[in-house]
């Protein structure tokens, strides 16, 4: 039953993200600069207005905006999946059941994939829209910190040999990181940001459709990949224990 749901979700997620892409490029309009608000604080030689005007001059609409349909769903998914790192970490600490440790680890793996995708798309967009590859801007900074935390989780895991200790420490660090990420998000946000913010109700129907398809598609893919990986690990563990029992 669960396996079938996973398969369906994987396919459905793939279809939805594809639909999102098609809608994004062929149906959804390119917004004028009213939809994204960009404060002119980025330190480039040219002003943002000039860059935008240049795009319009050559009849080239702001294609950089299209990455929004990929970037934002992936970023949101990474946060949502990261919740499971902390959730299963806490459950492991309370029960000492190894299954939860495996689940927490795989949730973090999926988070890492999403985090890397967000970073790549984010950096591409920054270059397209702000004409710089990187900017120490609150949201980018926070996300950078989150990337480091997710990497640190694996560094920690890899430097401990004892299995139970590794699981306990990883669970504790997962919870700490999960608590820390929103704090750094809140703290950096208290400084005025140059990151565009989606205004409420600012999306036209095709854009909203595309965005929602992308979001749910990504979440489904994330969940399906997570389930597949969990099943793989469970089988691997069963195999190992069978091997051990045969030898012993």
């Amino acid at each position: 039953m669960k396996n079938r749901v996973t398969g369906v979700l994987l396919v459905l997620g793939g279809v939805l993200t594809t639909v999102s892409f098609i809608v994004a490029f062929f149906v959804a309009g390119v917004p004028d600069f009213g939809t994204v608000t960009v404060a002119n604080e980025v330190q480039t030689e040219r002003s943002l207005i000039e860059i935008a005007a240049e795009g319009f001059k050559y009849g080239r609409p702001d294609w950089g905006q299209k990455i929004f349909y990929f970037h934002v769903p992936v970023a949101l998914s990474s946060f949502l999946v990261f919740i499971f790192t902390a959730y299963y970490g806490a459950r492991f600490l309370l029960s000492k059941n190894r299954e939860f440790d495996t689940k927490a680890r795989i949730a973090t793996e999926v988070t890492l994939v999403f985090v890397v995708l967000t970073m790549i798309t984010g950096v591409l967009w920054t270059k397209a829209a702000w004409d710089v590859w990187w900017e120490w801007e609150p949201r980018l900074t926070t996300y950078f910190i989150m990337t480091l935390l997710v990497i640190a989780y694996f560094v920690l895991r890899n430097s401990i040999d004892d299995e139970e200790r590794r699981a306990t420490y990883a669970a504790a660090f997962g919870i700490l990181a999960f608590v820390d990420a929103p704090i750094s998000f809140a703290i950096t946000r208290l400084i005025p940001s140059t990151h565009p913010v989606i205004e409420r109700g600012g999306l036209e129907t095709p854009m909203l459709l595309s965005f929602l398809c992308g979001l749910f598609g990504m979440l489904m893919i994330g969940y399906a990949v997570y389930q597949v990986r969990v099943r793989e690990e469970m089988l691997k563990e069963r195999l190992e224990s069978l091997k051990a029992s045969l030898e012993g």
């Binding site: 910190i145 480091l148 430097s159 401990i160 420490y169 504790a172 700490l176 809140a186």
Partner: protein, 241 residues
Amino acid sequence: MAVTGGTSGRAMSWRQFRAILRKDIVMELRTKEMVTSMGLYALLTMVIYQVALSQSGTAFDPRLIAAGLLWLAFVFTSMLGLNRSLVHEKDQGCLEALLLSPVDRPVIFFAKATGNFIFLLIVEVLTIPVFGFLFLQGRGFGGQFWMIPAVLTAASLGIAGVGTLLATMSVNTTGKDFVLAVLFIPLMYPLLLAAVSATTAAVLGGPDAAAGFWAGMRMIGAYDAIMLLVAYGLYEFIIGA
């Protein structure tokens, strides 16, 4: 682990807390290892700063980055100290003895964190005049002086608390100090950002210094409250593993 016996649980915990803290302080007074190594490390950082700023010219006002430089020094010194404080415990088998004795786990956490907090504070208090002497001579201090100890205390509390938990983890890894740095710096990021902004407001002064200072202090307070609570909750699991 409930404490049973004649004295009430709280009084017992308090005595245990003092005993562990006293052990750390006595050991420090005899060897003077922590403060010497941390202080020397901070001094060496100042040398590096001189190199870093050597080409900045006389027009550059170091007060603008003074807070950042100071906290940079404190972060690296504190990592050195945290690592040492737990490596000692482990190498000399003290941690195991502590775990065998009927001491509440949170008491161990609070005692170790308090010890680290005190040593860190001592090193900070020693470093600041040296830093001022080397880099800020002839440049006025803008804000009110009490702001500096306030930031130091509040931020060191967070560093010592979360740092003690992380160091307890990292001493049991193969990477030790490297793992501590990888875990410590990203987790400390919000605290450091707030501490630097509050310290900068204190150093530069000006009309909005108080507002900037209190904004930073509120953030430090929130970080301390949340993270210390989480660290306290997790310590029992960590130290038992």
